[in-house]
């Protein structure tokens, strides 16, 4: 970056300003910021248009235009204000503990999203589209819960064994996808969609089966016991917060992902297959085996997410415990550009959405609007042409940019 600045300094005044602007505008961080901004703006429009008070006040706009405009403002403020105080800092509380509780909730929700998101991101880097995080999380949950409710072990060891069981169970289902993909050439998108359904049924069955997961004295509803205290992920920063050790696992997972993808030989192979599988094959990489490894490790991340989710529940497991994490993981990975840092940021954003939705509900704004915001943000980021068209940004490699670059080159040559 500093090199570029030095070069641009020597450019003529007009071109310099233009080229700097262009570089920033077509660069990723700005595009992401604009996407997020636009997502929130459109979300606000949804909130306003479908708010009864606003509609009423606008129906007699002529009589009281100030009131009509202020209802619009108040609706937006109520909605996003509640999101802020539910996910970052609660301005209405009188003590510090309550004030920062929303932030800890955001971190708590972000943990599983980040871990599952890393799993999906890994497969993206290998050029696969694994949308089976749901299966892997469900099976990981089943594994973790079996260990945490049926086996009895000392503190910490019990928790670690449960985490290992979750990872192992999830990996089995990743390997199934990998083997089907590598040996039969089956499309991984279809395979994972089908497995999602199979796993949902299987999970319900496991929760209903008295010998496996069904709670003691359980009735017809599929529900497990509460995990043993020894297996629970305990409070991380004090018992007044729900934040637990799951966050540590998320942190370790991020470090491991970064090392794996950016520093290890394994990750190099993954990326090579993802860039050009034919070239990778020509270079002697066993592409099929790489697929299997990638899907297995990816499922391992989903298993970690499952452990964090399953070993921190207040009551027993139910069929809704998966909470859409597997599907959100896809959007997290897309938003994060499949990089460790990006996935963390995306996970935090979506975690904040999850944490803030209950206080939006209390404020009388439908938290469902966050679903729209979320989808729009990722859509804008995944489809650069949309955001470029809306903000009239220059295309990378467009004439304006090329002109600026060639001017730069000409200067250097002189």
């Amino acid at each position: 970056m500093s090199m570029k600045n030095k070069e641009t300094k020597s450019l003529p005044q007009e071109t310099k300003a233009q080229s700097v602007l262009n570089e920033i505008m077509s660069g990723d961080p700005v595009r992401i910021a604009l996407s997020i901004l636009l997502g929130f703006v459109i979300g606000a429009i949804f909130m306003v248009v479908f708010n009864e008070d606003v509609v009423k006040s606008w129906s007699n706009f002529g009589a009281d235009p100030n009131y009509a405009l202020s209802t619009v403002w108040w609706t937006i403020q109520d909605g996003y204000g509640a999101l802020f105080s539910g996910s970052i800092f609660n301005l209405n509380s009188d003590n510090f503990v309550d004030a920062i509780r929303p932030l800890t909730e955001t971190l708590r929700f972000a943990g599983p999203l980040i871990m599952a998101g890393l799993g999906v991101a890994l497969t993206f880097r290998v050029g696969l589209f694994n949308i089976g995080a749901t299966v892997q999380i469900m099976m990981g949950l089943a594994g973790a819960t079996f260990v945490s409710t049926r086996l009895h072990m000392p503190q910490i060891i019990h928790m670690l064994v449960a985490v290992a069981a979750a990872v192992a169970c999830a990996m089995v289902w990743g390997i199934i996808v990998g083997v089907l993909k590598a040996r039969t050439g089956a499309n991984e998108v279809i395979v994972t969609i089908m497995l999602n359904y199979v796993a949902t049924s299987l999970f319900t069955y496991l929760l209903r089966e008295p010998n496996l997961l069904l709670e003691a004295n359980g009735g017809g509803t599929p529900k497990s016991d509460r995990p043993d205290g020894t297996a629970m992920m305990g409070a991380l920063i004090g018992t007044e917060y729900k934040l637990n050790y799951g966050l540590i696992f998320a942190g370790l997972a991020v470090l491991f992902y970064w090392w794996l993808m950016e520093r290890s030989t394994f990750g190099f192979r993954f990326r090579m297959v993802g860039h050009n599988s034919s070239a990778a094959r020509a270079a002697g990489i066993k592409v099929e085996n790489t697929f299997i490894w990638a899907l297995a490790i990816s499922a391992g991340f989903a298993g970690l997410a499952a452990a964090a989710q399953g070993l921190s529940v207040d009551g027993g497991l139910t069929t809704s415990i998966e909470a859409g994490i597997g599907f959100d993981a896809i959007t997290v990975a897309l938003l994060g550009g499949s990089r460790a840092g990006g996935v963390v940021m995306a996970g935090l954003l979506f975690g904040a959405f999850k944490a803030g939705s209950s206080s939006m509900q209390v404020a009388g704004v439908s938290p469902e609007v966050l679903g729209v915001v979320k989808a729009l943000i990722v859509l804008f980021i995944a489809a650069p042409p949309i955001i470029r068209a809306i903000y009239r940004l220059p295309k990378p490699g467009s004439k304006v940019l090329e002109a600026a670059k060639s001017a730069k080159v000409a200067k250097v040559i002189k």
């Binding site: 089907l180 999602n196 359904y197 089966e209 959007t331 439908s366």
Partner: protein
């Protein structure tokens, strides 16, 4: 010029070799029926109830011993499997009607085995008519999938298009009081979703699968929001469309069994009987269809002979979206009568699987969709007769069948060659 039929094996023997996996899978299934349902099966009786009580012509019930019935069916299935193996060893394809008989036989054996000893028996009209009605959204979704994949665009957004159609048809149908307007609006709205997919995928070359997934997320988000923030406030004026009236076709609806199942239905079902054959005819018997398929297999060659690849893709994908919208309308005003949150419940994804299972052929896709419709009603029905095995396992069957099929056990599954690949005019 005489017409030359190009058959597999015409140019090389290697390409004609039928896989033995399919006959072996058939034999394995037949053995399960023979041994577990028949020889080691349940001892009670099965009641096959052929007629509904409303019908004018009543067929007598057919009661048979469960073990005897399943053993006979199992033996028949083994014979079919063995014949199919024999054909494959002689490099001949198993005829489709034989596979259909096999499927029918195994379904009857499964139904009989599940209903052994149950008081209400196997109610054929109930099962078949619900199978058809529940399969309609899947069939329309499948047709949408065929229409876009045949021209080389993977349409993961079928789920979103179904949901859009369901939502718009319910709201417009209620607000205008005219369900036909609701249906048309559903087609237009879902067509617009498809247009977004088409233009981003074709013009801007954004990854088709990613755009499809995100459009689904967006539609789910928007409909969830509108459902909770708008429809729920005044559902009697916004989300209370009711359903189309049933149209009984004179005389035909009096035929035992099929009369009630096929000829006494809502317009959405009859439209399906219209659209599927038309799509088949257009795709495989007209110049338009030939061009479309050419674009999906080799866009460069199609471009060279003067076909506008981008426009062909754009229109087929958009029209496909409209058909999916019709499927969405079939969910609300064709069956349930109001819009529910995320009511498509993954049926768009099943439609994708159905397309693969049916090998991108409208007729086969329809039959595969019927298989899935059958399993949905089977789950409901099996809960009533309380069979010996957990219902969760019955629910899994169609997904496992699809997995086996995509894993190459049901012959080579070959998508249109350029499916999912953007075409850059060079």
């Amino acid at each position: 010029m005489s017409k030359i039929e190009v058959t597999p094996g015409m140019f090389s023997k290697a390409e004609a070799k039928p896989s033995l996996k399919a006959p072996l899978a058939m034999l394995a299934g037949a053995l399960v029926v023979l041994i577990f349902f028949g020889l080691l099966g349940k001892t009670g009786n099965i009641d096959f109830v052929w007629s509904d009580k409303r019908e004018t012509i009543q067929l007598p019930e057919f009661t048979v011993n469960s073990m005897l019935f399943c053993t006979i069916v199992g033996a028949l299935l083994i014979a079919i499997g063995a014949f199919s193996l024999w054909l494959s060893l002689r490099n001949k394809k198993t005829p489709f009607w034989l596979i259909a008989i096999y499927a029918l036989g195994s379904i009857m054996a499964l139904l009989g085995w599940l209903a052994t000893g149950a008081t209400q028996g196997v109610q054929m009209v109930f099962i078949l008519s619900n199978t058809l009605v529940l399969a309609i959204p899947l069939i329309f979704g499948g047709m949408a999938g065929i229409m876009s994949e045949r021209v080389g665009v993977v349409n993961i957004a079928i789920e979103g298009q179904l949901l859009t159609g369901a939502f718009v048809s319910a709201v417009v149908g209620t607000m205008t009081g005219n369900l036909y307007l609701g249906m048309v609006a559903a087609m237009i709205a879902a067509g617009l979703v498809s247009t977004v997919l088409a233009s981003l995928a074709i013009k801007y070359l954004v990854d088709q699968i990613i755009i499809g997934v995100l459009l689904n997320v967006l539609v789910i988000g928007v409909t969830n929001f509108l459902h909770s923030a708008w429809l729920n406030n005044d559902s009697s004026h916004l989300n209370f469309p009711g359903t189309f009236d049933r149209i009984a076709i004179p005389f035909l609806s009096e035929i035992p069994i099929i009369g009630q199942v096929i000829f006494n239905n809502r317009i959405t079902v009859y439209l399906m009987f219209l659209i599927v054959p038309v799509l088949w005819y257009v795709l495989f018997r007209t110049k338009l269809g030939l061009r479309a398929r050419a674009v999906g297999v080799n866009p460069l060659a199609a471009d060279t002979v003067g076909i506008n690849v981008a426009m062909t893709r754009f229109w087929w994908v958009t029209l496909g979206g409209m058909v999916a919208g019709l499927g969405g309308a079939a969910l609300t005003i064709g069956n349930v009568g109001s819009f529910g949150r995320e009511m498509s419940g993954g049926q768009g994804f099943i439609a994708l699987a159905v397309v693969i299972l049916g090998r991108w052929q409208p007729i086969y896709v329809t039959l595969s969709a019927l298989l899935f419709g059958f399993t949905i009603i089977l789950r409901v029905w099996a809960n009533q007769v309380s069979p010996g095995i957990p219902v969760d396992f019955i629910t899994m069957v169609p997904y496992l069948v699809t997995l086996v099929a995509v894993a190459g056990f049901a012959g080579k599954v070959k998508p249109p060659a350029a499916s999912g690949q953007p075409y850059i005019k060079g």
